[in-house]
């Protein structure tokens, strides 16, 4: 009887003491323990609350708080990769951009005569046959006769045709005979303009040289476009066969183009310009190209302190079919940017002073994962054919050129050559024009995939231009100005300059404010975590510690409880089998053992006991006279005394 009450007491103790973690016998006990002891608010309320309604209310509130947390945190996560824009303006000394200047006419017509005379003759002939136009009648007639005798390469290769639209028959310029058009018809001009009733549409036919039945007819609503386009095709063909050195000589020299130069209040000359040969614009000259390592900068805004040049545009030496406008083209760009004159040039009028005020803006985008842009272009699978820094346009052009080399076997004239390729010309690639047109069609319709591969650059510089024009030279100053400029030009030029051959250009900074637009990550990890913490704290006073608690309780502890139960069930089943064999009866206490009496819980040192007292273990105090900690308070546990009156009785006995 003496030992029995002791065991009973320990059993009771165990039952009433708060259980912890994996020692909890059942899941519900574990949950109860968790709710009472967790740092998270809400859970405790559920357990502590009296009354079903109130408990339900607390469950709902807690659940909705959890829901809110999840929702808000998801929002925070989704907004994590958003960028905010900041604009800074800085007033400072600004680097002057590179200014590339080209004459609209690429090559001196007089010098090109030997290459182009055939083509020009035929163009004139075409003009005469289609439109009855001729400059000097007798001369052309003679040349026509001559041409009839010799026959024409140009028209054989790409015949110009007059198309009767509805019947799909065309009059060949060469033979005058009508023929049926096969293949598809492409309208180069807008289809709206190209009305069906106009019966003299002009165009040209491109055929696949290997398979003559495959032809495409390109028509234009206006003969002007048709002739120019046709001329350009042949022109490119001819130019492709001329070596670069010769072409540079055929084009304008720096002395030809630049009459005066003035920068930042000081005189400059052709040595400040770098020659740059553009396939379609001939020799262009870049001011401040930074090739000798120094980039000029401006420390004062205003028209006096910028670049002032007077250009000599020799209008008489223009190619009449290739270019139909007079003047120069300029482009303001960064030193390591390629000048795409044909795409984004600004035209300069002759006999006028064009003043271009610049405003500098630098922009920077965030690359991945914020937006899909590239920093250097190194991650783009397209080889950069231009020897300049990456831009979207460079990528598109390079991509097209690559496709051209792959499918047509030669490179297009207007873009740089890839390694190991050469420019297309009839002699070697009779098929190239058809191929080019087909490919270009595909490119425009985004079927080549170039637009998908190429990404825009993350940072770019932009010079916003304000262009205005004044009359120059003024009537009062015209006389002396032209005389002095002619003197400047020197003896080489025998005639007096005409004001329509001159263009004055001023490029300057309107102000020295650099506007820098940059994207910044709107959230850093620190801020994201802060926001998480704010949400967790606001709704449930939770922290990472709570999360770890949850993981601990809900995963590790619950799992261990479930596993233990499984283990016991398996053991029981095994015992049953064993018992079924030798006929051993099942132990009566088995079912109860799963609860508080389960063997895992029986522990001699009872760790829960000490912790229940919420006091540290007593230790032998170093001072012998110090009273030991007051363990009598064990008796003070109110629940304990209430629930175990027998223990008191026992001690009294």
């Amino acid at each position: 009887a003496g030992t029995a009450p002791g065991k009973k007491i320990t059993a009771r103790l165990k039952r009433t003491l708060p259980v912890r973690g994996p020692q909890a016998p059942t899941l519900s006990e574990l949950m109860r323990w968790y709710c009472l002891n967790t740092n998270t608010h809400g859970c405790r309320r559920i357990v502590v609350s009296r009354g079903r309604l109130r408990r339900l209310l607390w469950i709902l509130l807690t659940l909705s708080a959890v829901g809110l947390i999840l929702w808000q945190c998801a929002e925070l996560l989704m907004n994590y990769y958003s960028a905010s824009v900041s604009v800074t303006v800085q007033f400072q000394k600004l680097p002057f951009p590179a200014v590339t200047i080209c004459n609209i006419n690429p090559y001196k017509y007089s010098a090109m005569k030997e290459y182009l005379s055939e083509l020009d003759k035929e163009t004139k002939k075409a003009l005469e046959t289609f439109y009855g136009f001729s400059e000097g009648k007798s001369k052309v007639r003679r040349s026509v006769e001559e041409w009839n005798r010799t026959g024409s390469d140009f028209f054989q290769q790409i015949p110009l045709l007059k198309v009767e639209d509805l019947s799909r028959t065309a009059t060949d310029l060469n033979s005058g005979q009508k023929r049926k058009i096969e293949g598809s018809v492409f309208h180069k001009d807008s289809s709206i303009v190209n009305a069906g009733d106009s019966n003299d549409i002009i165009g040209f036919q491109l055929c696949d040289a290997n398979n003559s039945s495959e032809c495409a007819l390109y028509t234009f609503s206006s003969g002007v476009n048709a002739i120019q386009e046709w001329y350009k095709l042949h022109y490119m063909n001819i130019m492709a066969q001329i070596p670069l050195e010769t072409k540079e000589k055929l084009s304008y020299s720096a002395d030809d183009l630049l009459l005066t130069c003035f920068f930042d209040g000081l005189s400059c000359d052709k040595r400040h310009f770098t020659r740059f040969h553009h396939p379609l614009h001939g020799n262009c000259y870049t001011f401040n190209s930074g090739q000798n390592g120094t980039v000029l900068s401006t420390s004062t805004g205003g028209s006096e302190y910028g670049l002032q040049v007077v250009l000599y545009i020799d209008e008489e030496d223009y190619n009449p079919f290739l270019v139909t406008s007079t003047g120069a083209k300029i482009i303001v760009h960064d030193q390591d940017e390629y000048p795409f004159i044909e795409d984004i040039g600004t035209e300069i009028e002759t006999a006028a002073a064009t003043s271009i005020g610049m405003h500098f803006t630098r922009s920077r985008k965030l690359s991945k994962p914020y937006s899909d842009c590239t920093e250097t272009g190194a991650d783009i699978p397209v080889e950069n054919l231009y020897n300049k820094s990456y831009s979207l346009q460079i990528c598109l052009h390079s991509c097209f050129q690559k496709a051209m080399v792959d499918s047509c076997g030669c490179a297009q004239y207007a873009q740089p050559l890839p390694a190991g390729a050469e420019y297309c010309n009839y002699k070697k690639n009779p098929n190239w024009m058809y191929c080019y047109y087909k490919l270009h069609e595909k490119f425009v319709k985004e079927q080549l995939g170039c637009q998908q591969i190429c990404k825009d650059a993350c940072s770019f510089k932009e010079w916003a231009l304000t262009t205005s024009i004044a009359q120059w030279p003024s009537t009062a100053s015209e006389d002396w100005m032209l005389r002095v400029l002619s003197w400047d030009k020197g003896q080489k030029l025998n005639k007096k300059l005409n004001k329509t051959d001159l263009a004055n250009l001023m490029v300057f900074y309107k102000d020295l404010n650099e506007r820098f637009i940059s994207e910044n990550p709107a959230n850093t990890l620190v801020i994201l975590l802060s926001n998480f913490g704010g949400q967790l704290g606001l709704w449930m006073s939770c922290s990472v510690v709570c999360v770890i608690e949850i993981v601990e309780v809900f995963f590790i502890d619950s799992l261990s409880i479930v596993m233990r139960r499984q283990w016991q069930r398996a053991k029981k089943w095994w015992n049953n089998r064993q018992g079924a064999g030798p006929g051993k009866p099942t132990q009566p206490g088995d079912v109860e053992r799963q609860g508080h009496d389960n063997p895992a819980c029986i522990d001699e040192d009872l760790p829960t006991f000490n912790t229940a007292l919420r006091l540290p273990l007593p230790q032998d105090s170093p001072l012998p006279r110090t009273p030991p900690p007051n363990y009598s308070t064990l008796r003070l546990e109110s629940a304990f005394t209430e629930q175990l009156p027998d223990t008191l009785e026992l001690s009294q006995h």
Partner: protein, 668 residues
């Protein structure tokens, strides 16, 4: 006495809480703190204890690290920008119109007579390089005084190493040996460029047989025009400003002489010589309301003579425009009378105009645009505003009062702008170094404009100052941009005007209205039509706001602390409390140790364990307190077991004779 009493009481109160030893204190703290980690440390089993200890440490260090980042972010004063685009009723910009030519030639002719004769004669000689070729017929002898002050020289560069300087009106030739300071900086650059270029040329030569065309032309160009600038007349301290183009040289020289002459003319005469409003502004229409030249404010601009500003907002309220489109904007017809231009001064003909903010000075050279004669120029305006936060977010100035440069343009009653600051800075440098002010900028107090008579070396001084990089850098560094930056983005388009069909009647009417004559006094070369209006979207405002406010900082700090440890400010206070407590304990220990040495003997006299202070105090306040000594007190039995937490073990007081003493004295 009272103080001692108070101290003792405070001590007791403190000791009641955490306990007498560090360990007790810590345990008490961990158990009772609201921070999440520490509680776990003491509540778990030994293995988990360790894990929780390290976790708590980790979290605490994470919190501090991230707090550092947050505070850093806050102190970097970032801004966020918000952009808004749209149309709203806005103040119509102030429109300044000027003639590109500052004065009527017919009016200034008497002043410029000598100068023009000089330049004509000089050009005559330059353009015909063989001297003495029929230029004898200049009837009145030239007055060479002006010329000698700032002469133009011709540099003969047949021999590159030994250039010969030819004075145009004198026959004696000087070789370039005394040309010590003969090249300015740009020229040095050029020479460097030559070397590089020559190398290029040789490279080209190697590949292609014929010499490049550039080489031949350099040989042909033998003469160069230069302006000779001396520090004072007749001195040897001279520089030659080289020009590659004679046209540039002539213009620069003419401008120098012109400013010298004009600086002596009083302001009202200069205004009189300029274009008058009624002559220049022929027609004006703002929206549907007619206006005329009287609606314009006259301002004298040194570059462009008389300028007229519409809607400057100086005297009256600025006009608003509430509709986009040309119909609701400003329409002007101007006459620039091109035949009255000064031939050598400005070679470009047209009107110069500029849109700017109300009450700001128009800096036409910087921001102005041209309008061509014989055309109609339409200007669509978009107001591009940038509103920035001042210090410490960005280094800008609200009204220029904190800029160390005196704003000389304040005499026009205009607001601060960066251009005004730069020019004022230049002018004050000029006044300081050269002793006189430049004609193009307003004058500081007590300084006169430069002219050849009073300041013979001014052109030399000005020229060196102007090209001095250092001076510019000083000005750039001392000037700040304004925080609110407004720009007017213009979309400019042009058409021929008047059309051939309408030309006759338009010229007729305008001539009649201006000159009351039936003769046509206007022509295509002088007439300009301007339309200035708001675009469909007339504003684009970028405004800044602080990205990190103190509220942001606090909530982020709280978020971090809460996220990792579930803590708040109260937890920090708790922590602080514990630190104070532990300090107290330390002090008590130290004092106890010191006193312990002194009071050894009195303590030895105690036969028994003396009652501690806490015992005495607690005995009255806490019934649960029991002294469990070997000789257990009999009242221990009598006390019923009390519910409640056990009191901490205040045994540490026992070693403090100081307190025992003080208590004794108290009792007494």
């Amino acid at each position: 006495m009272n103080l001692k009493k108070y101290l003792v009481r405070a001590l007791h109160r403190l000791q009641k809480g955490p306990g007498y030893t560090y360990k007790e204190l810590l345990v008490w703290y961990c158990d009772n703190t609201n921070t999440h980690g520490p509680k776990r440390i003491i509540k778990e089993g030994p293995k988990k204890k360790l894990i929780w200890f390290f976790l708590t440490l980790l979290f605490a260090s994470l919190v501090f690290w991230q707090w550092g980042i947050l505070i850093n972010t806050y102190l970097s004063y970032n801004v966020t920008s918000s952009l808004s685009i749209g149309f709203k009723t806005m103040k119509f910009p102030a429109v300044t119109v000027c003639n590109a030519n500052p004065f009527k030639y017919s009016e200034v002719k008497p002043l410029l007579k000598e100068l023009d004769r000089l330049i004509e004669a000089a050009l005559e000689r330059i353009l015909q390089p063989t001297p003495g070729n029929g230029s004898e017929d200049v009837s009145p002898p030239l007055d060479l005084q002006l010329w000698n002050q700032i002469p133009l020289v011709l540099i003969d560069e047949h021999d590159k190493d030994n250039p010969i300087i030819l004075d145009i009106f004198e026959t004696n030739q000087t070789t370039g040996e005394n040309e010590t300071a003969a090249s300015n900086q740009m020229d040095m650059d050029v020479d460097k460029g030559t070397a590089g270029d020559d190398q290029n040329f040789t490279a080209v030569n190697a590949t292609t047989a014929p010499p490049p065309p550039a080489n031949t032309t350099t040989e042909e160009k033998k003469y160069k025009l230069a302006v000779k600038l001396c520090s004072h007349q007749g001195s040897n301290n001279c520089t030659y400003r080289n020009f590659t183009s004679a046209a540039q040289a002539v213009t620069e020289w003419y401008i120098l002489q012109f400013t010298s002459i004009l600086s002596k003319v009083p302001l009202h005469d200069r205004i009189r010589m300029g274009y008058q409003a009624e002559d220049m502004i022929l027609a004006c229409l703002y929206g549907a309301e007619p206006c005329n030249y009287k609606n314009f404010t006259q301002i004298y601009h040194p570059d462009h003579g008389n300028c007229y500003i519409f809607n400057w907002g100086m005297d009256e309220e600025a006009l608003n425009s509430s509709n986009p489109g040309a119909e609701f904007g400003l329409k002007l017809i101007l006459d620039i009378s091109q035949q009255d231009y000064i031939p050598y001064l400005s070679s470009a003909a047209g009107a110069r105009l500029m849109l700017h903010q109300q009450k700001s000075f128009p800096f036409l050279k910087d921001q102005g645009i041209y309008a061509m004669a014989g055309t109609e120029t339409s200007i669509g305006v978009l107001v591009d505003e940038l509103e920035r936060m001042g210090y410490p977010y960005s280094d800008c100035t609200m009204n220029g009062s904190d800029v160390p440069v005196k704003n000389l343009y304040s005499q026009y009653n205009t607001s601060y702008s960066i251009q005004a600051c730069l020019r004022s800075c230049f002018q004050s440098h000029m006044a300081e170094i050269c002793g006189c002010g430049h004609y193009m900028f307003p004058l500081p107090d007590g300084v006169n404009y430069c002219n050849n008579e009073d300041n013979p070396g001014w052109a030399y001084c000005y020229s060196s100052l102007r090209s001095s990089i250092k001076q510019r850098q000083i000005c750039i560094d001392s000037c700040k941009e304004t925080c609110n930056d407004t720009q007017y983005k213009m979309t400019i388009s042009m058409a021929d005007w008047p059309s051939e069909a309408s030309e006759d009647w338009i010229f007729h009417i305008l001539s009649y209205e201006r000159d009351m004559s039936t003769n046509v006094t206007l022509d295509r070369n002088g007439i300009i039509k301007l339309n200035i209006y708001f675009q469909e979207y007339n504003y684009r405002t970028i405004s800044e706001s602080a990205a990190t406010t103190i509220v942001w900082l606090l909530s982020s700090l709280g978020g971090q602390f809460g996220f990792w440890m579930g803590g708040s400010v109260l937890c920090l206070i708790e922590f602080g409390e514990i630190i104070i407590d532990s300090l107290w304990i330390t002090i008590i220990h130290v004092i106890g140790w010191c006193k312990g040495l002194k009071q050894k003997r009195p303590r030895v006299r105690y036969p028994d364990v003396p009652p501690t202070v806490s015992e005495l105090v607690e005995a009255h306040t806490n019934l649960g307190f029991q002294h469990e000594a070997m000789d257990a007190l009999p009242r221990d039995e009598a006390l019923p077991p009390e519910p409640g937490t056990p009191p901490p073990n205040y045994d540490s007081l026992r070693v403090q004779p100081l307190d025992v003493l003080s208590l004794d004295s108290n009792v007494e």
